[in-house]
Symmetry: C2
Subunit: 200 residues, 2 copies
DNA sequence: TGACGGTGAGACGAAATGCGTCTTAGTGTC
DNA sequence: GACACTAAGACGCATTTCGTCTCACCGTCA
């Protein structure tokens, strides 16, 4: 099993539990999961699970969502190398993020079978967390072009727009399309965050 | 909604409930379903559900499985027209049944996420029911070639073989392949049920 | 109109399930 | 041998689910 020669770096117990949570969620949906399901799937006792995530299901689910988001932005950031222009960077961010959202089978399944839960985690409950983690991941990149304070507002704005257009596509804007996204960003984003360049 | 001009013949309450059960099973799996889930999905009160299926979940699930099987054999029988030879008929039966089993997404999902439940319904618990319904559907066809008593044994044998080879494929026999199935039937089936033709 | 069957809503107690904490015993490490 | 970590599972409590029941409502038909 945990062969020392294996390429994988022997996942920690915490990671095993979060992986198990993912399996359970895909199998049964968030609404139907119990602590025991996750503990059994992870091959871990319930006591261990409470030790790792004091607070039970709420804390565990929060950790799960954070990890999912970190994975999301890690994949996203991997598409953002070697870009030396703010507009190009923002276009790539919204296009890649939109593409990834659209191709996320897990998310699609959640939206289909548990729309309430899924929408909540993308809006009222989840959006602050999304913005927080997006900020952590994207500030280092965006910060090269705009002041840190502005960068925060910019990342938040992008996150809101990507999610909004993902959940309710527009007839006029397609953030999954580079052309359309560039036009959108040039019109609605850059003027607000680079006023000195608005007339260029 | 229930437009009178609609082609569909206004599904009965019972059918609506069984449809709802199917939706719930696909969404959550059999292990996690509650009576309320099905009642809500069907837009029916719990009282009505108990009125229709006295005995609750067990009775409802039994009815559900029976309907699924009847659908299965109805589709199967639709592939069996205009065959006037016993061997051809048996080949078509096992090939079509195997193909249908292999392409059944619902069944595949069940086998993946709830192997215990799925296997039980194909073997220890479910096989008698499968054989019973297979007999009802196939006896009229097979009965043209062999006596009724023999026909029952033949249908049962075929059902057992199709399920066995579906669950655990063989290196030597592929009942989804017409050539292979014909060879299998000529070797193992016909000699036992048409001994007079065995040497032909 | 009034009787009647079918239904939704929901109350009810009983049973089952899930939760969170705790204790115990086992295992590997230092 | 002390120690940290864990699986297993018992415990009491809260919640959910079950199965039955009553009642009000609605459409149909006499």
């Amino acid at each position: 099993m945990t062969s020392p020669a294996s390429a994988a770096p022997a996942p920690s117990v915490e990671e095993r539990v979060l992986d198990a949570a993912k399996v359970c969620i895909e199998r049964w949906g968030m609404a139907k999961i119990t602590i025991d399901d996750i503990a059994n799937e992870a091959g871990v006792s319930r006591a261990t699970l409470y030790r790792l995530f004091p607070g039970g299901k709420d804390v565990l689910f929060e950790a799960f969502r954070v990890r999912e988001l970190e994975d999301f932005f890690t994949r996203l950031a991997s598409h953002l190398d070697h870009i030396d222009d703010l507009e190009d960077l923002l276009v790539r961010v919204v296009v890649s993020a939109t593409e990834e959202l659209r191709s996320d089978q897990h998310l699609a399944g959640m939206l289909a079978s548990e729309p309430g839960e899924a929408l909540t985690s993308l809006t009222v409950d989840g959006l602050p967390r999304i913005i927080r983690i997006a900020t952590v991941f994207l500030i280092p990149l965006v910060g090269e072009y705009v002041p840190r304070r502005e960068a925060s507002r910019l990342v938040e704005f992008l996150a809101r727009m990507v999610i909004s257009f993902f959940l309710a596509p527009s007839d006029h804007v397609d953030l999954g399309d580079a052309e359309s996204a560039r036009s959108f960003i040039a019109t609605f984003v850059l003027p607000a965050f680079q006023p000195s360049l608005a007339s260029s």
